[in-house]
Structure formats: structure tokens, C-alpha cells
């Protein structure tokens, strides 16, 4: 198996006036293609921070992340935008859907954002079909016209997953996708992710639920800014 992602010696600290909070202290992590990794750790241990750095949404204070052998901190602005758009899919802990768009448009958004107006006219139909397919996969085929506020938390999370998959990213990063859900709904989400992984999708999932973590290929524990 080839490595898709490699994080070396990541440091992250937050300054708040005089106080400094070092969240990551020399963290190393390698993700192989097709792997399903769970990151567990206490609340505030830096799981979200790590995931943001891996997805290029945040920058480490020291160390670097390599994606397909290339350091993403060396990407220019345009390349970084394309990286976020095409290579990784991000599922946030708090869904982060656009309230004004319906479910289908939310899912299609990454495809729209990644194409110019003319290109969009050409591929709109296929994008629409793909979005509808994804929503069917996550069990929301009936809800495409609904707005986010009309959905339950679990349903919103599934929309967020479908959106993250829209551009067929090589890496899916999910931050506590089941965190706000009851165990039954959470199980449903996990099943969706497991199915994706069986289809070859590389996944990194943050969770504080050890039992969920146990169902993945590899469980990583984040303690004191490092992996143990």
C-alpha cells in the first residue's frame, strides 16, 4: 500500500495574550491509501486541530504535511484551493451546511466551486446526477429539495458526508461525524463510512467513542499532543 498522507513533527500552539497553549507537540502520522483510521483522544486534546491541518484548512507552527509526496505548505493559493476542492473531503463536527441552499445544491457546491460558469453549464447534469446518487447512498434520496433546517442532526451529517464526497476526493476527513448523534443514528453514519472504505475510500475519522474507533483499520490515540 502506498502512503497518501504523511505528517511529520507537527507542532501547533495557540497564543492568547500571555498564555500559550501547545496543542500538538511533534506529531507524526502516516496514512496509507485505502486505510480507515480513527483518531481518539480526550476533549481538547487537539483532534480537530490535527484534522484541519491534515486537510489544509489550518497551518502547523512547525512540521509539515505531505500529500502524495508533496508538501502542502508549499502550495500556492490557487493550488491549495484546488487541493481543498478536489483532493480532500471534509466532514465537520458541526455539519456546516449553507442554510440558503437546499440539500441537493449543498451537495453540488464543491463541483460548482471547482468549475467555471461555462464548464458548469456543460457538466451540470452529470453533477446533479452524481449528487442525487450520493444522497441516495446516504439514504436521503427523498430529501433533496429540503433546506438544512428541515433536517435532523443525523440527516445533516449525512448531507455533509455526501458533500465531502462530491468531487470524489482521495482522502475523506471526518471530525466526529457521529458526535452529536444517538448511537443508533451514529451507527448508521459509521456504516456509510465503512461502505465507502470497502469501496477503496481512504478515511481519517476523529471520534471520542472507542467502540466506533474499534471498528476501523487502525486506532490512533492522541495524548499530550502526540500519538501514543
Amino acid at each position: 500500500m502506498t502512503d497518501i498522507l504523511k505528517a511529520s513533527n507537527l507542532h501547533k500552539l495557540y497564543k492568547m495574550g500571555q498564555a500559550r497553549l501547545t496543542v500538538l507537540k511533534g506529531l507524526d502520522l502516516t496514512v496509507a491509501r485505502g486505510e480507515f483510521i480513527a483518531v481518539v483522544g480526550a476533549s481538547g486534546s487537539g483532534k480537530s486541530t490535527l484534522l484541519h491541518i491534515l486537510g489544509g484548512l489550518d497551518k502547523p507552527d512547525a512540521g509539515y504535511v505531505e500529500f502524495d509526496g508533496e508538501r502542502i505548505d508549499r502550495f500556492g493559493a490557487g493550488r491549495l484551493n484546488r487541493f481543498r476542492n478536489k483532493k480532500v473531503g471534509f466532514v465537520f463536527q458541526f455539519y456546516h451546511l449553507l442554510d440558503e441552499l437546499n440539500v441537493l445544491d449543498n451537495v453540488m457546491l464543491p463541483a460548482m466551486a471547482g468549475t467555471g460558469s461555462l464548464g458548469w453549464l456543460a457538466k451540470r447534469r452529470s453533477a446533479r446526477r452524481r449528487a442525487a446518487n450520493l444522497l441516495e447512498q446516504v439514504g436521503l434520496a427523498e430529501r433533496t429539495r429540503h433546506k438544512p433546517y428541515q433536517l435532523s442532526g443525523g440527516e445533516r451529517q449525512r448531507v455533509a458526508i455526501a458533500r465531502a464526497l462530491m468531487n470524489d476526493p482521495e482522502l475523506l476527513l471526518a471530525d466526529e461525524p457521529t458526535g452529536n448523534l444517538d448511537s443508533k443514528t451514529g451507527n448508521g453514519i459509521l456504516e456509510v463510512l465503512e461502505t465507502l472504505n470497502r469501496g477503496g475510500q481512504t478515511l481519517v475519522m476523529v471520534t471520542h467513542d472507542e467502540r466506533m474507533g474499534a471498528r476501523t483499520n487502525r486506532l490512533i490515540r492522541l495524548v499530550d499532543g502526540r500519538i501514543v
Partner: protein
């Protein structure tokens, strides 16, 4: 594509954007209405002053007048840029009505109607003689009687509630008696020893409605020769008070006036040894703007002040629009974080909000502009209605000397106002969205997940 799409969704999906549209519309509406009316008032007032004296005035303040005017008028008429010249007598007198026991101080203007209507807008100020202004001094009831034209506000008469004047179908037969004080060329009272003044009877022939309060309330027009005689200006040399000149090309006012001035200077130089040449010294050559400056200036000052006030209002408007967008976009900073996290560029994010605010600006400006246009279209009808129904008159006609509230929309003003409103909207959106777009996506999302 998604940018415009998103912008439209924001516009339709959020109540606050309706408020933003309303704010823009209101501002455009108010500024447009006030600017149009104020500009119109000043423009009309200037036009009336212009119509009263023509393009250029050669005049003296002295009641004695100046001599050799005929020679100079002939010289002027020979100029290729001169369209018409009207020589006038301007003096003061007393007016009374035969058989009545009132009298009033008046201004007397002696004119030759045929010349005067070509040099000035006098013809259009008449009522009964509008189509035949050259016979202005022939009363309809007795064309052979000596006639006079009086300022429209001088005779007690009924006015419509919106300020218009009622006229009977034919002029009433009224005999007016005018007395003038004849002065010699040296400025002394002629026949002062006999304690006499020149008094003549005239028959009311028409009104002149120049729209200038002082003129319409004080001026009586009589034939040039008669006036000259009554003021003692027909002696040798005969004298006149002023010449009103109309140019062929009204655009080159300064140039044309300059030509008349140098012509006059040469003329005065030639005459410097002629008898009573000293009377030529007090003669000024002025464009109508300079000549009527003391009348126009207060109005223009008022306009400048209003423009300043509205500039301030405009600034406040821009600020209000800015605040509205700041609030709208602050609420949407989470969306900026989301868009950035799925790979939308900084500029792409900003564009979404520029489209949004541009749409708000355009719709708001269009709404406000349309409303202003509709109001201006009906403003006179509305004002009439207010007056009839509640006896409330928004504009006192005697102060503003207008018949109608000016409501002609100037394309230039509209363009400036609408473009500023749209620009204000876009700038108002630009700042907060640029600010948000500069942040890292997680910085925004971190805050917004609370």
C-alpha cells in the same frame, strides 16, 4: 455560476436583504426627489432672470440715463453675433387708478415691444397678447387708446388655489394714471420750479407674468417714446437706461459679452469729447448672469447649502448601507469559512458578496428611482390635492415664484445618484467580505460553531 446563484439565494432567502434593498431605495428616493426639485427651482429661477433681460445688458444705474444709445444700438445690430437689441427706459413713478383713492410707487419700463420680444422673453409673459406680443400696448377693448402692461401681481385679482391666475376672457377696461419725475441731463428736476411732474393716463392692456416677484409686483411697461418723454429723457441729447441684447449663439456667452464690452469701450472713447460724455462713464456691459447676480445669488447659495446638506445625507446613506452589509455579511461569515474549506478562492468568496450587494444596490436604486419618478410625475397633482383637501400648501408660490413644482428629472442627476448608491452598496459589502476572506477557514468556523 454558483456565485451569482448563491448571491440570489442570499437575496431571496434573508429578510435582512429586503431591509437592505429598502434602505438603498429610500435613500435614492429622497436624494433624487430633493435634488430634482431644488435643481429645478434654481434652474427655473435662472431661466426667468435670463428671459427678463436677454443675454447681455448694457446699462446704467443713473436715472438720468446715457446718451447716443441709438448710435450704439445700430452698431450692435450690425454685429454678426447679435440677434436683437432692445433699448429700454427704466425709472420710477407713481401709479393710481382714475377715480380710485390709492396710489403706489412703481417701476416704469419703456420698451418697444417689437424689439423687446426679440431680445427678451417678454412676449411669453403676456396673457392676452401672447400670440401678438408686438401689439402689447393695444388694449383689446380699444386698440387706439394708449395701453400699458402691468406686472401680474400689481392688480388685485383672484388666483387659483395652486397659485395659477384667473383671467377674464377679455381685459377689463381700467384707466391707470402714471406720474414720472422728469430729470434733465444734468440730473436736476425739469420744471422743478413749476412743481410739476409728468402725468399720463394709460389703459390696462395686459399682464406680464415674468415669474420674478419684484418685477411682477412693481413693474409697469409703457411704450418707449412715452416713457422717454415722461422721464425727461427725450431732451437733447436723448437718453436711454439700458440695452438688452440677445446673441445668436447663446452658448458663447462670455465671449459675446466680451465683444460687446470692447465695442462699448471703443464707442465711449470715440465719444469722449461729445456733450454729456460723462454720462457714458457709468455704463456697464454685463452678461445676464452678472447683471442679475444679486437676484440669483441667494437662491444659488441656498442650493449650495442644500447640496452640502444632502452630501452629508449621502455620506450617512453610504454609512447606513455599509452597516447593513456589514451586518449581513458578518452573519454569513460561517458561509465564507465553508466556501473556503471546499476550495473557493478568496476572491471567489468576495465575488459572491459583491454580486449580492450589487444586486441589492441595483434593485434598491431601481425601486427608489422608480418611486421618485412616480412621485415627481404626480407631485403637482398631489400638492394641489393637499391644498384643496387640507388647505396646506407645501410651496408658497409668492416666495418661490413658481407655478408648478419643478419635476423634470435630469438624467445626469439620476445617473450620479444611482451609481453612487450601487457603489456604496458594493463598497459596503467589499470591506467585511474581504476581511472575512483573508482569514483561514478554520478561524472563521471555530467561532461560528459556538
Amino acid at each position: 455560476m454558483y456565485k451569482l446563484n448563491l448571491a440570489i439565494r442570499y437575496l431571496l432567502g434573508r429578510r435582512i436583504s429586503i431591509l437592505a434593498v429598502t434602505a438603498v431605495a429610500l435613500c435614492v428616493f429622497i436624494v433624487l426627489v430633493v435634488m430634482t426639485i431644488m435643481n429645478g427651482l434654481v434652474r427655473e429661477f435662472r431661466n426667468k432672470n435670463h428671459a427678463f433681460v436677454g443675454d447681455c445688458v448694457v446699462s446704467t444705474d443713473s436715472l438720468v440715463g446715457f446718451p447716443y444709445y441709438e448710435e450704439f444700438a445700430a452698431e450692435l445690430r450690425a454685429q454678426e453675433n447679435v440677434e436683437a437689441v432692445s433699448t429700454v427706459i427704466h425709472s420710477y413713478g407713481l401709479l393710481t387708478q382714475r377715480g380710485a383713492d390709492w396710489n403706489m410707487g412703481i417701476e416704469v419700463m419703456g420698451i418697444d415691444p417689437a424689439d423687446h420680444i426679440r431680445a427678451t422673453g417678454f412676449g411669453q409673459t403676456l396673457h392676452y397678447h401672447r400670440d401678438t406680443p408686438e401689439t402689447a400696448f393695444k388694449p383689446a377693448y380699444n386698440p387706439d387708446a394708449p395701453g400699458c402692461v402691468v406686472g401680474i401681481d400689481m392688480m388685485p385679482r383672484s388666483r387659483s388655489q395652486s397659485g395659477g391666475y384667473y383671467h377674464s376672457p377679455r381685459p377689463q377696461e381700467i384707466e391707470l394714471v402714471i406720474s414720472c419725475f422728469p430729470l434733465t441731463a444734468k440730473g436736476a428736476m425739469e420744471r422743478a420750479d413749476m412743481g410739476m411732474v409728468n402725468t399720463l393716463s394709460f389703459f390696462y392692456s395686459d399682464d406680464s407674468h415674468s415669474g420674478l416677484v419684484k418685477v411682477d409686483g412693481n413693474m409697469v411697461y409703457i411704450p418707449f417714446e412715452t416713457a422717454q418723454q415722461m422721464c425727461g429723457m427725450n431732451g437733447s441729447p436723448s437718453r436711454a437706461s439700458a440695452m438688452y441684447v440677445r446673441f445668436k449663439n447663446a452658448n458663447a456667452l462670455q465671449q459675446n459679452t466680451g465683444k460687446v464690452r470692447s465695442l462699448w469701450d471703443r464707442f465711449a472713447e470715440q465719444k469722449k469729447d461729445a456733450p454729456y460724455a460723462n454720462l457714458l462713464d457709468g455704463v456697464r456691459v454685463e452678461s445676464w448672469i452678472v447683471n442679475r447676480r444679486s437676484h440669483i445669488a441667494p437662491m444659488e447659495k441656498e442650493q449650495t447649502m442644500l447640496i452640502l446638506l444632502f452630501l452629508m445625507l449621502g455620506l450617512i446613506t453610504v454609512f447606513v448601507i455599509f452597516v447593513v452589509f456589514y451586518m449581513v455579511i458578518s452573519h454569513k461569515s460561517k458561509d465564507i469559512g465553508i466556501l473556503r474549506s471546499i476550495g473557493v478562492s478568496r476572491w471567489g468568496v468576495v465575488q459572491v458578496f459583491v454580486y449580492f450587494s450589487g444586486l441589492v444596490g441595483v434593485i434598491g436604486a431601481a425601486t427608489g428611482g422608480t418611486a421618485a419618478w412616480a412621485l415627481l410625475l404626480k407631485i403637482n397633482a398631489i400638492e394641489d390635492w393637499l391644498f384643496v383637501k387640507y388647505g396646506y400648501q407645501v410651496w408658497d408660490r409668492s416666495v418661490y415664484a413658481i407655478g408648478d413644482i419643478p419635476s423634470r428629472i435630469e438624467p445626469r442627476v439620476v445617473t450620479i445618484i444611482i451609481l453612487s448608491a450601487i457603489a456604496a452598496s458594493i463598497v459596503g459589502a467589499l470591506l467585511p467580505s474581504v476581511q472575512a476572506a483573508r482569514k483561514r477557514p478554520v478561524e472563521i468556523l471555530q467561532v461560528n460553531q459556538l
